[in-house]
């Protein structure tokens, strides 16, 4: 049987694409075949899903993200983007944006939705549970500790001062992410208008983000149908 990727493998080594490296007869040199087999074994070990991303790694990543989510769930957004897309490259930026639409478009806490989705994408149902648990656990721990010490902790001027410094920084960070995403994704006048309308609907008219997403979904579908890019 031909390996699925032999065409690419051949191209990389300058062999004609039609030749099957697993068939020793059609090759002049036997060692090509041997090195191919060795390479395939190596690759299969390297790209084994269990080796690529371990469940524990997912838990640890989301635990870290959850512990630095200061000032509400939206702060998790740049943290997740940095950890999962930029640093580790587990998912692409486009896929991240798709998952973000889903996370915002479903009821429940947005941060939990997002981490669940990413876990699901990386490791199936097990990954979803681990990612969800990882992002929730720090907040559970800190709340229990705070509840035992109770609110005396929050009257200490140190903590208040820390938040007075950290919160504006967080706002700046999210604004930076908006700038980066906007530069990549808002290029035409139409898309700018689209984004502005959505923003105004949510901030000025206080319309629920889920409703805005559903409206946007319907609008986009209608536009695609009208412009005849799809036939159904």
């Amino acid at each position: 049987m031909l390996p699925r990727d032999y065409r690419n493998w051949n191209r990389k080594r300058g062999l004609p694409a039609g030749q099957d490296p697993e068939d020793p007869v059609c090759h002049q040199a036997q060692w090509v075949h041997l090195s191919y087999l060795l390479r395939r074994r190596e690759e299969s070990l390297l790209h084994h899903p269990a080796n690529e991303i371990m469940l524990f790694q997912i838990f640890l990543t989301f635990f870290k993200i959850g512990s630095f989510t200061i000032g509400g769930g939206y702060v998790m957004l740049p943290l997740v983007r940095e950890a999962v897309v930029k640093k580790r490259g587990w998912i692409s930026e486009e896929r991240f944006l798709e998952l973000l639409v889903l996370a915002q478009g479903t009821p429940g806490v947005m941060a939990v939705n997002l981490s669940t989705l990413i876990g699901l994408e990386l490791y199936g149902l097990k990954g979803a549970m681990v990612a969800c648990g990882g992002s929730v656990f720090p907040s559970f721990l800190s709340i229990v500790v705070v509840a035992i010490l109770f609110t005396r902790f929050f009257q200490s001027p140190m903590v208040v001062a820390f938040f007075r410094g950290a919160l504006p920084a967080v706002v700046g960070i999210i604004a930076g992410v908006v700038w980066q995403l906007g530069r990549q994704n808002i290029r035409t006048k139409t898309s700018f208008f689209f984004a502005l309308t959505a923003f105004a609907l949510m901030v000025l008219f206080k319309i629920n983000p889920i409703l805005v997403i559903i409206l946007g979904f319907g609008f986009v579908l209608l536009r695609i149908r009208l412009s005849q890019r799809c036939t159904f």
């Binding site: 870290k64 630095f68 989510t69 200061i70 000032g71 769930g73 939206y74 702060v75 998790m76 957004l77 740049p78 943290l79 940095e82 930029k86 944006l97 639409v101 889903l102 915002q104 009821p107 429940g108 806490v109 941060a111 939990v112 669940t116 989705l117 149902l125 979803a128 549970m129 992002s135 720090p138 559970f140 800190s142 709340i143 609110t151 140190m158 001062a161 820390f162 938040f163 007075r164 410094g165 950290a166 504006p168 920084a169 967080v170 706002v171 700046g172 960070i173 604004a175 930076g176 992410v177 908006v178 980066q180 984004a195 923003f199 949510m202 983000p209 997403i213 579908l221 695609i224 799809c230």
Partner: protein, 175 residues
């Protein structure tokens, strides 16, 4: 029996929290404070401060804290689980459904999500507004926000967590 009741109360809250963590607050007020009277209104005002000032999403924090006040450690665990479970279920079903449609209409789904990207940017922009409402009390705050904005935009190698911690320390030194 008591824990079961607590679990279902928070399950309901998680299920109907349309619009992120802040949407859980009025639901908790209605369900836990008014309907079941497990918490007093004074507890609830404590809850908001605590939920906003501890790390983690507001929705999870407030649920855990309310669970702890009503049922101790076990209550906290029950409430957290109850709030998370609806999300997990809905997300799993939706993901499977979307994967099924993506197989049938791959081009269409890709196109829709591509066209929806401006809306996503707008959604993230609303987060700036939501978090920023309570953050700017003086000019120093604007300066800090401006510096971190610049760092994120123009220096890719800066990671986010050190920025947050540094400006927290700056806050301690300044105020």
């Amino acid at each position: 029996m008591y824990l079961l009741k607590l679990f279902f109360a928070f399950f309901k809250i998680g299920l109907f929290a349309f619009g992120g963590g802040y949407a859980t607050l009025p639901l908790i007020a209605r369900e836990i404070v008014i309907n079941h009277a497990w918490l007093t209104p004074q507890d609830f005002s404590h809850l908001i401060t605590v939920a906003e000032m501890t790390p983690g999403p507001i929705g999870i924090n407030s649920a855990t804290f309310a669970g702890y006040l009503t049922g101790g450690l076990l209550g906290a665990a029950t409430a957290t689980l109850g709030v998370c479970l609806p999300s997990l279920l809905i997300i799993y079903l939706l993901y499977r459904l979307l994967a099924y449609f993506a197989k049938k209409e791959e081009k269409l789904i890709k196109e829709i999500f591509k066209d929806l990207r401006p809306v996503v940017v707008a959604l993230v922009a609303t987060a700036v507004y939501l978090v920023g409402r309570g953050a700017f009390k003086d000019y120093g705050a604007w300066l800090i926000a401006g510096i971190s904005f610049g760092l994120v935009c123009y220096y890719n190698e800066f990671s986010i967590i050190p920025i947050i911690l540094t400006f927290g320390m700056v806050g301690i030194l300044l105020y």
